[in-house]
Symmetry: none
Subunit: 329 residues, 4 copies
């Protein structure tokens, strides 16, 4: 396994990590998760990503049970949570969502209980919250660090402007600013990671824990012939993914990508994951595998990574044509 | 004339202002400029925009001569310059361009001499400069304010991230941050002003002095039947404008827009300018008229502004379909 | 016993202190350590130095057992730990070494458990870590102080530049900077303590807890006739000490030093220790005795100290010729 | 000519620059300096280095006369001065030397008058001054920048500790810290530039304007057969250089270096200069040529620079064996 520093921090994360986004609860049970996390850990993965909203709290509860059972040395791995959406679903009352000091603090306490750990290594603002001043967010996160409840804090799906505002507040008040951002990143969605954040890696040393490296499964090639029942895109509640990704010209590109993968002796999915971590500004790519065979296959991205030379990268670029455009001066 | 505060500052600018971008030197002479500036001033315009690079210094020299001749009360108007490109053209040596303390300082001195004024009201970084730390820029601008050589400083064509980094540095070192940005803004180019900067108006109180309200003339409707010789797009050195803007579907939209303008009893150009200043986050729209009749026509935008009710705005939106898309959470 | 303020802090340390570097675990048992620590404490030593890496955690476990058994008033002594190398030896995983917030925090928790104390009086960064920003280190140490887990923090084998960078960050963010440094210091190794740090004692009030006052035993004179089996230099794993110190001209100097010691009616070791604490910038010299007789002998350095007048010091300088050279302006 | 950013600043200096250290006044006259500076400027050199003490003020007076006569665009070059030693020689009274606010301010005013310029681009503390708090130095330099009398300030022959203390003060009080250091650097003297400062280039972005790239002429090879009369080493007042450099084993190394130079088709001096600027942490190497032929020859270092591949660098290292030793952890 390769490890990378989380931005400018001293923390090292495995370049591939394990996330439970929508995977837990609805689709799988404890036994399977036990196996999946075991495979991940044994292969050197040291970051397990979670959030209060994933499966409305059930995801953290399940991961907490497994972590307790595994009894791994607490210093050998890192675990995260994210606050914003709440976990009570439609029952959320005022202050049970958002980024107010009340919710950030209470959500942290609840995540610690569900995950059965004394502190979170990473704690994310799951989205920006226009109803809470960023000043309040930064102060609260800094307080949680001072209290020893979290070690590093970050954001997810924030804009460059919002991340910089958090750092502006941190510098002004001498607090600890956000260390990382969790953006979507894959061959189809490169704007934020490659263009919008391009200066932030240097100026404030942002790390990234990217999600959806397979574009909701599109980059596995499994939707090339339509959406099979039982797949994630076919599940209830993901109509927006369906609308967003099921575009014929995307499928066409994936087909061409598959040819490249075959030439390299790998799968489209593995190639797509390797492509993500080829970007040095990606600290770690979060895998969302729900089958042991998938996870084992995904981990082979580390073997594919060295094969991605300039020629192959240009070939992929020629197919995808998704590189962001920069201003010309 | 309507006046608006420049962001959160106490300075008030006329909502329409007069710029000399490419208009001076090559196309027009002192006599014409004398008339144009007189019309502008007499109609309540109090902001005259300039830059070291406009006509390689000749634009500021000419404006300086007219200002001296007019002998208006110095407190009755504001004048700007911008540094970055230098004004020696291809003869620029190291440190004669960019945003180093040396160039920002020397360019300020030179602009003061060319414009024959004791201080600039507004001083802009004409572009971002990746080879100079933003910290050096903020310190230098603050020093120029301390020395009384400029009153407010700002940026032009900076990203939201860069503007926020400047404010981060300013807050950290207790310096005066940028008060305004000069972005391109018109019906065809709305991304920066409407989406990317949307939070900055509130968080740090950004003002905007927008340029190209007519999209290099495209929104006057005069290119509907091709590019006539002698027009700005036909001038030497503007091939990039030609490539960029001469798109048939844009022309098609302008034609539809013309129908709206006629319905309102005005011209396409006047409607387009009024549309820009309808946006309350626009402090002032810089006019680049090179004929007296043009300028007089442009000024009628103030009369059109009250006509832009919700219905008309939606009709325009239906034609242009250029409103930025925001994230959905 | 003489006590000195730890740099500019209000904490007073005995000028001689007791360290467990390599002494515990491999060579000695609980019974002996019980006696050694008893002698030290009864003679007024109030600083017991330790580190996570010493005997891979066993050193702290043993000292913890003795401290619990002795049941001395917690306010009557000070105890330290140091983080950086980890204690799992070759089994160290990412984040189980270095100076990241995660390791510094977790190493502190673990040291508190091993030593069976509620707080460390002194907590050291055992080495500099180029992969963690010093900013992160200072913030973390300050947080541990805020949490009551440590009282003072410092460094070991950091350069003057690195110590000053820590103070730069501390001043910038209004945090508590490092109070002390633990460098090697003895008659053969004077560069850091006497030249490199010379300004820091004044500027930021650095204290020093020096190690190896006997140059790994070389200054006891016991290697004058070669390395006997069972001595520290003869032990497994210290070949580097052997290479580093077993130099014939050093032995020659030690022989001449022995004559001085005899003239003063003391031993070479005792003289060498006294010479270290003659330097007022040395807060305390850490003794590493592993026999009761050694420790008792070492403690006589306090009686030798008053004998070190200018004449004797010059005689020693004449023999050693190791005084650092300063720039001449 | 190649240009490099002065550390992290936005200022660009030519990688070779022109200094007047001991060259002016004693040895040469206006006519010669006129020619030398003309050659330098025409070859793209944009940094002219000076100091109050050089030829006790005569050096700056002479350079001032030439700059006035040349009438080059002030924005096309940079000029420096340095304060510390005073220029009245043995007649210096209290406050006519050192780094007090009084002397730094008065020395700046005097240098501006001698050089006949409105501001210095670079202003150096010529040495550290233990009798003036660094806080006073930083405040004074910051004030001179605010007053527009200097643009960037730096140090010469300061230790890493002292430079960091200046930055500590700057961060604490939100002032502008030192941007550059002027150390001695050549194949024989590498400790400071390569080891002591190694972290500072990254942490605070230090630039370096190195002096004595030829080790007082030793690296020209001209002393291989003894010190000829009329050479710099033979001049009155340079006995310390004589003692310092006239070491037979150094001469031996220079002889071997000459063979390398001949293999590359260049001279020992030119190779030695190219070697200095091969180091990317060197912003500019100051040339001290006193003959037109020398200067022209020195400028050829830019042609030699691309020839210094890994193989050649290792061959030189094998001859010189002067690479600094770093701590091993």
């Amino acid at each position: 396994m390769e490890y990378r520093r989380l931005g400018k921090t001293g923390l090292q994360l495995s370049v591939l990590s394990f996330g439970s986004w929508v995977t837990f609860h609805k689709q799988i049970d404890d036994k399977l998760v036990d196996n999946l996390m075991g495979i991940a850990y044994d292969n050197g993965i040291n970051f397990f990503d979670n959030a209060e909203v994933y499966a409305l709290g059930q995801s953290e509860l399940m991961m907490g049970r497994i972590l307790k059972k595994k009894n791994w040395d607490r210093t050998s791995y890192t675990v995260s949570s994210k606050a914003y959406f709440g976990w009570r679903g439609k029952e959320n009352k005022p202050n049970q969502t958002g980024l107010s000091r009340k919710h950030l603090t209470e959500a942290c306490h609840e995540a610690l209980q569900r995950l059965q750990v004394d502190y979170l290594d990473l704690y994310f603002c799951h989205r920006p919250d226009k109803n809470t001043p960023i000043e309040e967010v930064v102060f609260t996160m800094n307080t949680l660090i001072q209290q020893g409840k979290i070690l590093y804090w970050g954001t997810s799906e924030w804009s460059a402007q919002e991340i910089m505002e958090a750092h502006m507040v941190a510098r002004e008040y001498r607090l600890i600013g956000p260390a990382m951002e969790q953006p979507e990143y894959n061959m189809f969605n490169r704007e934020k990671v490659e263009r919008e954040f391009s200066q932030i890696y240097k100026t404030v040393g942002l790390g990234t824990t990217i999600w959806s490296p397979l574009a909701s499964g599109l980059l596995t090639g499994k939707y090339n012939n339509g959406i099979p029942e039982g797949s994630r895109l076919g599940l209830e509640g993901f109509d927006w993914l369906k609308d967003k990704t099921y575009v014929s010209d995307k499928i066409e590109k994936v087909k061409q990508l598959t040819a490249v993968a075959e030439k390299l002796g790998t799968t489209t999915a593995t190639l797509s994951i390797a492509w993500c971590v080829k970007n040095p500004n990606v600290t770690t790519a979060i895998l969302g595998a729900t089958k042991e065979s998938q996870l084992t296959e995904n981990l082979k991205a580390l073997d594919v990574l060295p094969l991605l030379n300039d020629e192959i990268m240009q070939e992929i670029e020629g197919i995808m044509q998704t590189a962001p455009v920069f201003p010309q001066y």
